[in-house]
């Protein structure tokens, strides 16, 4: 069994956990210091790709993560423009990973942050995520591959970072072009400068360490390798300790959790979809952002797929609704029929992609 742990991974896990606690303290929604799915969804809303009023804000964390990774990769000589590995399939996978995450209400990173906040629904999500990853590894062993990528023009590698930076700057200098939530999660945010600075640092560390939520569980299953999962564990422990130290920890519970629902079956299946899709893509949503920063055009297309998936999730009422209290009565949220159908279709599409891309030995 592989027991070698990269010290960068431990450091990154602690830094990401601390950053999540800090950004929440500075204004981000509870248990949402970082959430790639939520933040891409907010950006999709901000540029009017969907019109869900509570989730529209141009989150500086996204361009910050991509730029942090890009700068580190350029400095270390690892930046390389490459693309061509089944981009259309990756777009669809990105969209369904996003839909699965928004059914659960959080990407794999937010799942861990929610766990550290005492949200037991996130542990159900973790079980689903692990199940999805396990299914994905079965196909990896059977020869699943999205084929090779190839070196492309350097300009291709700068498309997504450039686009994100341009839109972010535009959102600052011409905010009237964008939409910003006046209530709900989109209205809650840390100061933009702080969000950007923290995300730059996290992006740099994530690039250096190769942090990946899906890769952690995948590598344990495939190779008995505990390196990546050590980052996952450190994020959980740091967020738990941070919440406890700041007096935000009220024990573990399924009820009244921030921006979360307790419809367990759909928490499980949403994250099954996200986990399976992430394994087929070669990394979780955070990892896709980091790879896009390193010049990977396939990951850039995946990120665009995730943004499209977020728009679909809200335009077609697929995303989960948080539990709420109305007239003193606790109402379990979850997803409607559209969301349930989308998860089932997503699982079927992933099954088809998994089978169709298995190479014969």
């Amino acid at each position: 069994m592989t027991k070698r742990i990269n010290p960068w991974m431990i450091l990154t896990g602690i830094a990401v956990g601390a950053a999540a606690v800090l950004l929440t303290k500075a204004g981000n929604p509870k248990n949402m210091g970082f959430c790639i799915a939520c933040f891409l969804r907010d950006i999709a809303g901000s540029v009017k790709l969907h019109s869900a009023a509570p989730v529209q804000y141009f989150r500086p964390e996204i361009p910050g993560l991509v730029l942090g990774a890009m700068l580190t990769a350029l400095i270390s000589g690892e930046w390389k423009a490459r693309a061509g590995s089944a981009p259309a399939t990756r777009f669809i996978l990105g969209a369904f990973v996003m839909i699965g995450a928004l059914v659960f209400l959080g990407c794999p990173l937010r799942m861990i942050i929610r766990m550290g906040g005492g949200d037991l629904n996130a542990f159900v999500g973790l079980a689903g995520f692990a199940a999805g990853i396990f299914i994905g590894t079965i196909f990896l062993k059977k020869g699943f591959s999205l084929k090779r990528s190839y070196q492309v023009s350097a300009t291709d590698g700068f498309v997504l970072p450039g686009m994100l930076v341009f839109l972010f700057v535009l959102s600052l200098v011409l905010p009237a072009l964008f939409v910003f939530s006046e209530s709900g999660p989109g209205s809650m945010h840390a100061p933009a400068v702080l969000s950007l600075a923290v995300a730059l640092a996290v992006g740099a560390l994530a690039q250096k360490s190769r942090l990946c939520m899906a890769g952690g569980i995948r590598d344990v299953i495939l190779f008995g390798d505990f390196n990546l999962i050590s980052g996952f564990v450190m994020i959980f422990l740091t967020v738990l300790a941070g919440n406890y130290a700041l007096g935000n920890f009220a024990g573990f519970s399924f009820v009244s959790q921030p921006v979360a629902h307790s419809a367990s079956l759909w928490n499980f299946l949403g994250m099954t979809l996200a986990g399976w899709g992430s394994v087929l893509l070669g990394g979780c949503p955070l990892r896709q952002l980091i790879l896009a920063g390193e010049g990977n055009g396939d990951s850039a297309v995946t990120v665009l797929g995730m943004i499209a998936g977020a728009a679909f999730a809200h335009n077609f009422a697929l995303a989960g609704a948080a539990d709420s209290v109305a007239d003193g009565v606790y109402k379990v949220g979850g997803i409607g029929l559209n969301g349930k159908v989308a998860v089932v279709i997503g699982l079927a599409v992933l099954l088809a992609i998994s089978f169709k891309n298995c190479e014969k030995e």
Binding site: E78, K147, R148, G215, L222, F223, D298
Partner: protein
């Protein structure tokens, strides 16, 4: 020689793992084009009884795995 250039993580390691299981080689050469693959294959190889020697040329890496 395993040519894993352009393949995304973790496929190069899966290919090495399959080859090691199938033929129990005393030596194995692997060609990759990213540092992530170099690190992952090296970690796998070191914990499966192989010493690894890496050579870089033009952004591509040749890993020579030799059974200890």
């Amino acid at each position: 020689m395993i040519d894993a250039r352009g393949l995304s993580c973790p496929m190069p390691v899966v290919m090495v793992q399959k080859e090691v299981k199938k033929s129990d080689p005393s030596e194995l050469e692997v060609l990759v084009d990213s540092m992530v693959c170099v690190e992952n294959i090296t970690r796998f190889a070191n914990t499966h009884g192989f010493a690894v020697e890496t050579k870089e040329a033009g952004g591509e890496y040749t890993l020579r795995l030799v059974k200890r």
